[in-house]
């Protein structure tokens, strides 16, 4: 089976994101870039299929600026077979990103396309469903497991109270929420191998994409409302007394119970 994992490079989740001086974007100083966490889970899900069946091919693709090449290199080091970089501006509309990815899908002909359910920068969750729509393929969201079954693949979708299990006859798009195992770290041989691999580049025009799809525009950005200055209680051997004070405060001051 052939997998294509679509990834995005985003600020690492441990980075303290700050609003930039223009007041409508994130300050770029001091940012460490990583593969978006949900995309890492998607890579892990695909690589687990490759662990089980070495004939599996796992390709990876991203649409983004030149720095995104590092994210592809990281994916290769984790064990992906090949990588493609589509050069695109950072503010490309999600619908245009999906069209560009659809162009790459048409060339690589994967059976299963996996995307993280959303990128942890804009948190839109648009590109995956839009890619499925552009391809005319069905999709399954909130994926936590993908298991080959007969000629098809079982896709587990996390919902309230459990999982829906869907049987897909490829091609299909899966939007990954989580993998059962933590995404693997690149091995040293993996890193060495990844360094030697060519990463072909494509441009939007070559994929038949003329940017201009409808999109939202960020006009202002601010940190979430500051919190703090809360009341601190120490138990000091009187849990019952403190518990009653806190419950009373929640009832009378905060009015939430």
């Amino acid at each position: 089976m052939r997998f294509l994992v679509c990834i995005k490079q985003v600020p690492d989740s441990t980075v303290r994101v700050k609003v930039g001086s223009d007041g409508r974007s994130v300050a770029s100083e001091g940012i460490t870039w990583s593969i978006s966490p949900y995309d890492e889970y998607a890579i892990e899900l695909a690589l687990e299929r490759k662990d089980a069946d070495p004939g599996t091919i796992v390709s990876v693709v991203t649409v983004g600026p030149a720095r995104s090449r590092d994210a592809l290199r990281q994916a290769l080091a984790m064990g992906c077979d090949d990588a493609t970089l589509v050069n695109g501006p950072e503010d490309l509309a999600g619908l245009d990103v999906a069209k560009a990815l659809a162009g790459v899908v048409t060339e690589l002909k994967p059976d299963v396309v996996l995307c993280g359910k959303q990128a942890s920068d804009d948190d839109q969750g648009l590109v995956g469903p839009a890619l499925a729509e552009a391809l005319g393929w069905p999709h399954v969201g909130m994926l936590t497991k993908a298991v080959p079954a007969g000629s098809g693949i079982e896709l587990w979708r996390e919902v309230e109270g459990g999982h829906e299990v869907w049987k897909a006859t490829p091609p299909v798009v899966g939007l990954v929420h989580k993998s059962e195992k933590e995404p693997r770290y690149p091995s040293l041989p993996g890193i060495m191998k990844a360094k030697k691999k060519e990463i072909p580049e494509k441009d939007l025009a070559g994929l038949g994409v003329t940017p201009g799809a409808a999109k939202i525009e960020v006009v202002a950005m601010e940190p979430p409302p500051q919190r703090g200055g809360g009341k601190i209680f120490k138990l000091d051997g009187d849990p019952k007394g403190v518990a009653e004070q806190v419950a009373k405060a929640l009832h009378e001051e905060a009015k939430v119970i």
Binding site: P138, E154, G161, H163, T169, P224, I232, V242, A243, I257
Partner: protein, 303 residues
């Protein structure tokens, strides 16, 4: 402006978030509330099983036929999925998980969290557009009446994808869902082991709350993944968030920092969770929580 609200059913009643949106949207213009209902939904399938292809096709057709400029839907699991695919089908702008939506100068201005809640953005959404709105973003006025709902049938499904079965999570029970809960009791590694969760559940029951967990806890398999609050789990905005034995990693804080009131219990006085807590209790949670559960019951009992 003509607005289409896509409602979701939960058994025989509309989901709270659908009611919130339908009620608020009436102040923006001419609202029609629709719901997709599949035939032959089995037990527990309130409105039939959601399938992206069939539902988005039906909603897109309806949106075009109705002349709507704005489609609003709850930012639920299915709502977000449906909204994104429908926006792609129509080629409309899409804004996900918004906490404020205001029509302005022939467009819509919306506020939404980005970077996993680490910043709040104001976005301009050109019309026509689809916007998914977070549960609790709009307070439901007391005595708000249920709107009349136009039911539409899903279009044909893609034969390449078929529902096989439902696998329930072992520990999932009767509690309210995290995303829509007005109170949440969340617990972390400070609980020491899954066998101590009765403490969490007793407090949640006393508060009428949902139960959540830190990533450390779901990764360790102490609790199911669906309870995880934080960057790679759920983002929640309840009125009351109680954090038990959670130190407050930045990824966890991102998922709950917009809660109205935060109570934190931790034995480490320097834990980051105290920086955002409205009420912080420094001490042994195994001593505090049972006493707190009793105190809550007493207050609730007195009405």
């Amino acid at each position: 402006m003509k607005i289409l609200v896509i409602a979701e059913w939960q058994k025989d009643t509309l989901r709270r978030v659908s009611l919130e949106i339908a009620t608020k949207a009436a102040s923006f213009g001419d609202v029609e509330v629709i719901a997709v209902r599949s035939r032959g939904g089995g037990p527990g399938e309130d409105q039939g099983r959601y399938t992206p292809v069939a539902w988005s096709s039906a909603v897109a057709e309806k949106a075009k036929a109705s002349g709507a400029q704005l489609v609003l839907v709850g930012a639920t699991l299915n709502g977000r999925d449906l909204a994104a695919r429908t926006a792609a089908k129509l080629g409309w702008a899409y804004a996900a998980d918004c906490t404020e939506v205001t029509p302005k100068d022939g467009a819509v201005e919306a506020k939404r969290p980005m970077y996993a809640g680490k910043v709040r953005a104001t976005v301009k959404v050109p019309l026509p557009a689809i916007v998914s709105v977070r549960a609790g973003a709009w307070t439901l006025p007391a005595g708000a009446s249920a709107p009349s709902v136009t039911e539409i049938a899903p279009a044909a499904d893609d034969p390449r994808l078929a529902f096989e079965r439902f696998e329930p999570t072992a520990s999932s029970g009767k509690r309210v869902s995290l995303a829509e809960a007005r109170a949440i009791v969340s617990a972390g590694r400070g609980m020491k082991g899954p066998e101590n969760w009765k403490l969490v559940e007793d407090l949640a029951d006393a508060l009428g709350a949902a139960t959540g967990a830190s990533r450390a806890v779901t990764d360790a398999g102490w609790r199911p993944n669906e309870e995880q609050v934080g960057q790679t789990g759920k983002t929640v905005t309840p009125d009351l968030y109680v954090a038990l034995g959670i130190s407050g990693a930045i990824q966890h804080l991102a998922g709950m920092t917009s809660s109205k009131v935060i109570v934190a219990v931790n034995k480490d006085p320097d834990a980051d969770i105290f920086k955002i807590a409205d009420y912080g209790i420094v001490g042994d949670l195994f001593e505090f929580v049972p006493a707190f559960t009793e105190a809550v019951k007493k207050i609730k009992g007195n009405g």
